[in-house]
C-alpha cells in the first residue's frame, strides 16, 4: 500500500507526507471544514488543486522517462552477461569462437576469438576496462542487481505519485460539487424569500 511509504501513516493515515520530494496530497474529510481551514474560497481552492495536479503530471513524465531508460538498460546488461558466459564456456574446450559482428550498418565481418581469460567492458564516457571473465561476470551481475533495485524504487514512486493524483482529482470533483450544491441551496433560499415577499 502506498501509505506504507510514509512514516506518518500510523498516526494520521489521512495525510501522507512527501516521498522523495513529491508532496503528498492531503485527504479532505469534509469539504466545508477544508475550505474554512485553508481560508480559501472555492475558486482559489480549485486553482490551487489544479496547479498541484499539473506539478504531479510533470513529475510523472520525468519518472516515466527514467523508468523507460532503466527498462532498456536491463536487457542490455543481461546480453553482456550472456556473452561473457559463452566465452567462459568456450574456454575449456580449447577451440576458438567464430562470430559474425556488425562493422557498420548492414556490413558484417567474421571474427575468430581465441581462448583468453579476459574481456573488456565498456564503462561509458569513452572508458573501457579489461577484466578477467570472473570479475566481469560479478561486475555485470552487480550492475544488473542495482538496475533492478532502482527500477523497483522507481515503480513504487510512480505508484505513490499516481495515488496522489487520484486523491487530488477526487478532491477537485468534491469541492466543485460542494460549490454547485451550495449555489443550489442559496438559489432555492433566495427564490423562496422572493416568493414570500
Amino acid at each position: 500500500m502506498a501509505a506504507a511509504a510514509s512514516s506518518s501513516s500510523t498516526e494520521s493515515p489521512k495525510t501522507t507526507t512527501e516521498r522523495r520530494g513529491i508532496p503528498g496530497a492531503q485527504f479532505v474529510e469534509d469539504v466545508e471544514t477544508y475550505l474554512s481551514q485553508t481560508g480559501l474560497d472555492v475558486n482559489s481552492a480549485l486553482g490551487f488543486l489544479q496547479e498541484r495536479l499539473q506539478q504531479y503530471k510533470l513529475v510523472e513524465m520525468k519518472l516515466l522517462a527514467q523508468q523507460r531508460d532503466l527498462q532498456a538498460k536491463i536487457p542490455d546488461i543481461e546480453k553482456c552477461l550472456d556473452v561473457v558466459a559463452t566465452l567462459q564456456a568456450k574456454k575449456g574446450t580449447g577451440e576458438a569462437l567464430i562470430a559474425d559482428f556488425e562493422v557498420s550498418e548492414g556490413i558484417y565481418s567474421r571474427a575468430r576469438i581465441e581462448d583468453n581469460d579476459s574481456v573488456c567492458l565498456w564503462l561509458g564516457a569513452n572508458v573501457m576496462l579489461e577484466y578477467s571473465c570472473e570479475e566481469a561476470t560479478s561486475l555485470l551481475q552487480k550492475n544488473l542487481e542495482n538496475a533492478k533495485a532502482s527500477l523497483e524504487v522507481l515503480i513504487a514512486d510512480l505508484q505513490f505519485l499516481r495515488d496522489q493524483v487520484t486523491i487530488t482529482q477526487v478532491t477537485i470533483a468534491r469541492v466543485y460539487n460542494w460549490d454547485v450544491h451550495q449555489r443550489r441551496i442559496r438559489q432555492t433560499a433566495t427564490s423562496s424569500t422572493a416568493k414570500d415577499s
Binding site: 500500500m1 502506498a2 501509505a3 493515515p13 489521512k14 485527504f27 474529510e29 469534509d30 546480453k79 553482456c80 550472456d82 556473452v83 559463452t86 569462437l97 567464430i98 562470430a99 559474425d100 559482428f101 556488425e102 558484417y108 571474427a111 505508484q159 499516481r162 495515488d163 487520484t166 486523491i167 482529482q169 477526487v170 470533483a173 468534491r174 460539487n177 454547485v180 450544491h181 443550489r184
Partner: protein
C-alpha cells in the same frame, strides 16, 4: 477513469479514497500486463519460427545471436538453446496470465464495492 460525486451528499471516506486509489493502481498494472503478455507471445512465436527454420535447414553450423554478435554454433546446441528459451518464455507467459487474472478479479471486487456506495456518481469504465 473519472471520479465525480453527483449532487447527492455521499461523503467520501478515507477508506473509499484508498479503494479508488487501489482501483487506479490495478488498472495501470492491467495495462502494463497486457503489453507484457503481447511481447511474451511475440517472443514465443519468433522462437517457434526459429526452431521450424532449424529443422528445415541442412547447415551444420548456425549463426546464433548472442548479445550483439552472431556466434557460429553447432546445430544441436542451437536446438537445445532454443528449447530452453521457449521453456523460459512459456513459463513467463503463464505467470503473466495468472497475474492478469488475479488483477481482473480484484478490480471486479472493487467495482462492486465502489458502485455499491457511489452508484452513478462514479465511473470506473475504460474511456
Amino acid at each position: 477513469m473519472q471520479q465525480g460525486t453527483g449532487a447527492s451528499e455521499t461523503e467520501v471516506t478515507w477508506e473509499d479514497q484508498q479503494n479508488i486509489n487501489k482501483f487506479g493502481r490495478l488498472n495501470n498494472r492491467l495495462h502494463e500486463l497486457e503489453d507484457e503478455i503481447k511481447v511474451a507471445k511475440e517472443t514465443i512465436d519468433n522462437l517457434e519460427d526459429a526452431s521450424n527454420e532449424l529443422i528445415l535447414t541442412d547447415e551444420e553450423v548456425v549463426r546464433f545471436q548472442i548479445g550483439e554478435v552472431f556466434a557460429h554454433v553447432p546445430k544441436e546446441e542451437v536446438e537445445t538453446r532454443i528449447e530452453e528459451m521457449k521453456e523460459v518464455s512459456s513459463k513467463n507467459l503463464e505467470k503473466l496470465e495468472e497475474e492478469k487474472e488475479s488483477v481482473v478479479g480484484q478490480m471486479a471486487e472493487l467495482k462492486k464495492v465502489l458502485y455499491g456506495k457511489f452508484k452513478d456518481s462514479i465511473n470506473l469504465e475504460e474511456d
